[in-house]
Amino acid sequence: MKNIRFLVIGSLFGIILSKSEVVSWYRIYEMFKFQSFHMFGIIGSAVLISMVFMQLFEKGKIKNHKGEKITTKEKKKGLTRTLVGGTIFGLGWALAGACPGPMFVLVGHGITTILIVILGATIGAFVYGLLSNKLPN
């Protein structure tokens, strides 16, 4: 099963998010209140180091396991889609104190109520799918 590698990488990600307290509602609240550097440090350093990796992918210095060039998918463009979609996401992120990664980590922590949040998120994705060709980009 080649997919087991993604289970392992996912576990690593889940452990990082737990041990660094990114999965804590309080850490997200504190971030949006600008009362702690913790979350900014995590996201900022993750982005900066990823930027170096992206450059190395681009230059072909790091290749994938098949020896091919690593390319990054281009994100869908659109001012409305990104700003309005992003704002709606931000409202939910700050209220639940969890974005999609941490939502799943908290299932592993045995938090029953997070299942309702995940159900809501799945319904949200479903409604987006229904409206996707009617919504402005």
Partner: protein, 185 residues
């Protein structure tokens, strides 16, 4: 053993998240979580309601394994790697939360005011949980990604849509934290 008993500082966690991105790319896949929500819909038969979901979910199997791993990582952490439940939040944050009615802020990972099991059975508690989830799922898919896909992958690959999405994440997050949470609680 401090690595196990103590929380990890930002300068450990941030670089390790970048390594997760590196590993995903090395194995030929992008780093992102929220697409799985659409895969759940497809598996649940949403293709009958909209062509948007008429996809072969088996192509996303790797990503479902990634999500299963995230859950497993959470389980392993909470059982074996986290002797303390306290979150060392800013005392100012804790006293502000106390004023809003959040007792014991920082003494556990999550506030009981939102996440205690009884909340499922109260109208308001349930509405907060399902509503927050709805906004996360709808917003992430409309924006085309969440924190991992936009903030980390998109910003680090210098994509303008991701910068706009992250600006949106903060507009929404600030509105909720500064204006709406004090109204809701």
């Amino acid at each position: 053993m401090e690595f196990i008993s103590q929380p990890w500082p930002w300068y450990v966690a941030g670089p390790m998240i970048a390594i997760v991105l590196l590993l995903m790319n090395y194995f030929g896949r992008g780093f992102g979580v929220s697409t799985n929500l659409e895969t759940f819909c497809t598996i649940g038969g949403a293709g009958k309601a909209s062509d948007y979901f008429k996809k072969d979910w088996k192509e996303q199997k790797w990503s479902l394994f990634f999500v299963a791993g995230i859950i497993l990582g959470g389980y392993l952490s909470s059982h074996y790697l986290m002797p303390t439940e306290n979150i060392a939040i800013n005392p100012e944050t804790a006293s502000e939360l106390a004023e809003l009615g959040f007792a014991n802020a920082g003494q556990s990972y999550l506030p009981a005011e939102i996440f205690s099991t009884e909340n499922i059975f109260s109208m308001k508690g349930f509405a907060i949980l399902i509503g927050a989830g709805f906004m996360i799922g709808f917003g992430a898919r409309y924006a085309g990604g969440c924190t991992s896909g936009h903030a980390i992958t998109g910003l680090s690959s210098l994509q303008i849509p991701s910068l706009l999405a992250v600006i949106g994440f903060f507009i929404g997050g600030l509105l909720m934290t500064w204006f709406l949470i004090p109204l809701i609680f």
